[in-house]
Symmetry: C2
């Protein structure tokens, strides 16, 4: 695998240089790994090109120039095109390459990509992350990895450039399933958070003193810590987009259906976030659920 | 107010010596305050009597012997009887006494008790707590206080014997409202937690490695920290009883209705916990929601 400038470096490919991928690729480059990059809109890749990355015109061309190819793009349809399309990674990957999808996507698609990779003598990992743009920038992501242990072990030094908590969760699809668990945990917690603060407001309480009382105990959560102060400041700018969260919950609900699993809280959360989007807040942060709940109850502030 | 053995001591009354009250009263006695106690079943008060507390035969008699009377009992109906009944605290309280209800109860009842107290020249506080039996034992409770500032200031040194986070939230009822916020925050978070872990199990993941990936990030919560390991160990013994949680959510939903507030997540949580109780788990801990969700989807383990 190590075919770069020194025994410690790996020729990497990077597809998707948005708010997350841009930093993740930069960390790998900072560690000395030569990178070839592709992004749907080239301008977002420019900072990496300026920092020394080679540009390629397609995922296929990225794969031709790299031994480990990472992608972090948008929706499952994008993942499918990037890996399995005519100009996709597998069209260019040589035997022995490792394909790593870090997009939050469908577990079943991860299984499909891994099978296609094996058929070409390659390995594949699904490795979605949590931690957001701040985690990407500070290399403190949690990386949830599915796929063969051998592939995990070989990519681990690269993951360590990008994340802090890196766990092999099992065979192909397990990384995506773990990310779904993560999103399910967040989904109803966001309902709790927004309903609790809305109740506090309507009950005439002082929201800051309420947070003093409740944050440190059993009601405390990372969501409350992150979004409580933003909601108090009426700051609904995106940390994590409503529309991306809807995508993730949709994947989780389809998987749950496939697993014969009734998840009423997740279903409600998805419906409420559909209301958030319908009210025009799809490009706001997930804390904009508060706005939708206010509108539902005709609360005017 | 300070009419005990020394200028620093207060004659206290304590009504309700269960898993919480027993420790809370003990802390006050340890600080040197002479106590008169009452409990519906006397045997549960015996440890405090053995430690030097005086027994009284009714809340009224407790009030006759004390300057500050605390209660922590079960349901709002119990609170009403303890404070407003024929043998209740207000029937025995002298002008200048302070009545403190630490039960999780109705905000509107707290307002009613405070008005009745004022009419007799007394002060009243509603001061429910979070932190459970462990917080009561270790004197680390969060105490959420409603009522007049003057009463709060006078009782504060006593609260400090029992709790760590003690916040005056506003006029009568504000302590109860704040506790409702606390319970609303927990309600849908418990759904998230149990749905997330059930999904993980059905997806064939290793729950321990899943917790490694998700606990430290945005999906983390105190509930996950407390109940995650118990659920993995299939330990459904009560930290907090399902039936008490149902009581609290019922109060919160009635208050929300009064406030013209639609809280779909809280309503769903209450319904799901009704299912937990209907399935025979009312005296289990709130993490038994997992069992109900398993039964709903016919998951056999």
């Amino acid at each position: 695998m190590e075919t770069g400038n020194s025994p410690q470096t790996t020729r990497i490919g990077w597809i998707g240089t948005g708010v997350m991928g841009r930093w993740m690729c930069q960390h790998l480059m900072n560690a000395g790994h030569p990178a070839t990059v592709y992004n749907r809109s080239r301008d977002k890749a420019q900072p990496l090109i300026d920092a020394g990355a080679r540009w390629a015109d397609s995922p296929k061309q990225v794969a031709e120039a790299a031994d480990v190819v990472f992608a972090i793009v948008g929706y499952p349809a994008d993942v499918r095109e990037v890996f399995l399309g005519a100009e996709g990674v597998l069209a260019g990957a040589r035997p022995g390459s490792i394909l790593v999808d870090m997009t939050t996507s469908e577990p079943s698609l991860a299984v499909e990509i891994e099978a296609a990779a094996r058929a070409k003598g390659c390995l594949a990992l699904d490795a979605p992350v949590s931690g957001g743009d701040v985690g990407a920038k500070n290399a403190t992501l949690s990386i949830m990895v599915g796929g063969q242990r051998e592939a995990f072990d070989r990519v681990l030094p690269l993951f360590q450039c990008m994340g802090k908590t890196i766990v092999h969760q099992g065979p192909a699809g397990s990384g995506q399933h773990t990310k779904m668990v993560n999103q399910i945990l967040i989904a109803s917690t966001m309902i709790s958070l927004c309903e609790g603060l809305l109740y506090a407001y309507k009950a005439g309480l002082n929201l800051e003193t309420v947070l003093q009382s409740v944050s440190g105990g059993a009601a405390g959560s990372k969501s409350l810590e992150i979004y409580g102060p933003r909601i108090l400041a009426r700051n609904f700018e995106p940390g994590f987009y409503v529309e991306h969260f809807i995508k993730d919950m949709g994947i989780a609900l389809r998987e749950a259906e496939r697993l014969n699993l009734c998840l009423p809280g997740l279903a409600l959360a998805k419906q409420l976030y559909e209301a958030v989007r319908a009210q025009g807040y799809g490009r706001k942060g997930t804390q904009a659920l508060l706005l939708a709940l206010e509108n539902i109850s005709n609360v005017r502030r």
